[in-house]
Symmetry: none
Subunit: 364 residues, 2 copies
DNA sequence: CAGTGGTTTGAATCCCATC
DNA sequence: AGATGGGATTCAAACCACT
């Protein structure tokens, strides 16, 4: 996994690289990237120009054949850059790709064929999409993002609590309502848009906040106007951007003015999973609960006795607080910390309160 | 185009055919169908049982018809039924397919390869989706429909004005908010759902209203519970349903009670749109409030700091504006929108003022 | 009958550290 | 690397029992 594996390839950090994305990805060390966000071109004609063996034009020959040929070359292009991304991604990293109905099905199929495991498809609902002027279709008011891990068994980063916090303590859904990039955020030169498909920073912030940690490396193989790098820098992540058109490397200028948020603002909401694990036996060892103490379920229908080794006994059965809790309820599983209660001041309190005490003691 | 083209094949009308969809499609005359709605197996690939936090088991889709040995076999199946559909579709007809991230990319790719021309991808946003019980992904809150014509140059039916009327005289967007099928609409036998994936009638009504005329023939190659036929009949369209599982052919019973609306009743109803919910985190994302900004209660006794994920931190505690507001007051609950204030022009203003701004932005 | 509070349920690729 | 077991995890809507 060291540098040697890649013949001494080094990972540039906080750099925008001008060049072909596949060539440049091949120069990066394997398994070095935590998160990839890709906004690939979906102009089939462009892919065509890039990959047709000869430069002959095909219009007017046979529409069906032309279409197939275009899709085929686009698919080849898609597989190539996705495979190159797969190589540089850490096993526990993840990949996001954004697209529209023109290309997203090709991308999704290629992803799955390469072994990526789709975690969600996320819809960016635009508050202010361009109307359909001719009134012949529905207003194309969204784009689709695919979020995928490196494989079915792979672990991946998901800041569940942060996403929940962003949505007023409700689970974040797979449909996100965000305005398109306009106004002051939109980069312009001489009044004209610098980049045709500049993504809003809010979109990238949410992606990066959801699927990476502070200090992680975020890569964008199709940098464009640099929104991914901007959001990464602001959120205290390192970035690597690759962009073919040197004109777009003006993103470097844009980046200079971006200030990383202070560490306090970057702290994310953490759930119970992040808490240090305290075995039930530790409560007994620490003297917070004596062997022989009686524990009760909330309705006081069952009584269990604490034993010196941190197991409990109830109605002839013995085992962990979880196992016995499940057993007396006839349930598959049980969280013993919230199920079992002890008596204090004439009331029943969950033993989880004692775990909180234990954690405070252990932390001090 | 006449009957003779297909050796005397005849189009059954308002019939549910029990049989394999490809075999049965092959028996229908070519170019005889105006609109196809297909709800194919999703190939969910569910590996394990899933339990809710309260230990109840989720009744997932484990039917044999949803099991495929590989993506390759799913792709083959998809191409076959799509090709059969293509043959029976009129040149100016169109096709809808619904799916989730498990299968929709395969379907979209196959569609395009067969020469269908994608008109829109339409998102069905569920008002009441099943949550993500383990907190490991985003709530899977939508499904995707692909709407396609028979080719790039093909004409197709789109009732633009009807859709506009349905959406308060605004162009109908590509994201539709509709509840899942439950309550009285959900078919049950002995208290158990008759079909695992019954679609809401409102969804099918909108599809049929958008893409067909009264008197047109609507075909559903995977009839299931029969929602397509029900919606077609109600809207004065003829239907042809194909369903392999004879158990589901109970849809015939369901259909008997459906009455076709008289033309006057077909007038669309207009609903008042609820005020958009704006999570506090959206203010941060939209740049209306920077991470690190200080918030105060009206008396400026407490100071909290805004964080990048839309949570706030105050006196060691962290959480939503509501939670922390309640916490510092020692109250059970608190409306953070009116409790917390920010400083502007030397005065304290409630953050609710920023929510108003956000709503204006989101509405524009 | 209206309101309240508890229960059920839905196309779901749903854990992870330790041994 | 597979098995073990601790223990973390849910939202909207319909329905039902009860006051």
């Amino acid at each position: 996994m060291g540098v040697g594996d890649d013949g001494g390839l080094r990972l540039p950090r906080n750099k925008i690289i001008v060049g072909d994305c596949i060539e440049e990805l091949d120069k990066l060390p394997a398994k070095s990237i935590d998160l990839i966000f890709a906004d690939p071109p979906y102009n089939l004609q462009l892919a065509n120009e890039l990959y047709r063996p000869n430069n002959s034009r095909v219009d007017g020959v046979d529409d069906d054949w032309d279409k197939f040929s275009s899709f085929e070359s686009y698919d080849r292009f898609t597989r190539d850059w996705l495979a190159a991304c797969r190589r540089v991604l850490k096993p526990n990293g993840s990949l996001w790709v954004i697209g529209s109905y023109h290309n997203i099905f090709r991308v999704g199929t290629a992803l799955q064929d390469l072994g990526f495991w789709v975690l969600n498809d996320v819809i960016w609902r635009k508050t202010n999409p361009m109307p359909n002027f001719r009134g012949r279709r529905f207003t194309n008011a969204h784009e689709t993002m695919i979020w995928a891990s490196t494989g079915q068994k792979a672990r991946y980063t998901f800041n569940y609590e942060s996403m929940k916090a962003l949505n007023e303590d409700l689970q974040m859904r797979s449909d996100w309502l965000l305005p398109i990039c306009s106004g002051g955020e939109r980069l312009r030169q001489d009044g004209r848009k610098t980049h045709p498909t500049q993504k809003p920073e809010a979109l990238l912030q949410r992606v990066i906040l959801a699927a990476s940690h502070v200090g992680d490396v975020v890569l964008d193989p199709f940098m464009g106007s640099g929104t991914t790098a901007v959001a990464a820098k602001r959120l205290g992540r390192a970035f690597v951007g690759i962009e073919r058109e040197s004109a777009y490397a003006s993103a470097r200028e844009r980046l200079k003015s971006i200030v990383t948020l202070d560490p306090a603002s970057l702290q994310v909401s953490k759930g119970k999973r992040a808490e240090t694990r305290v075995p039930f036996g530790a409560l007994v060892e620490m003297g917070l609960l004596s062997p022989g103490t009686a524990l009760y379920d909330p309705a006081a229908r069952h009584e269990a006795k604490v034993r010196a080794d941190g197991s409990i006994a109830c109605a002839g059965a013995q085992g962990s607080i979880h196992k016995i809790g499940a057993h007396v309820q006839g349930a598959m599983a049980c969280n013993g910390w919230t199920f079992w209660h002890y008596e204090a001041d004439g009331a029943l309190k969950p033993i989880d309160a004692l775990r909180v005490e234990a954690r405070q003691k252990l932390a001090s």
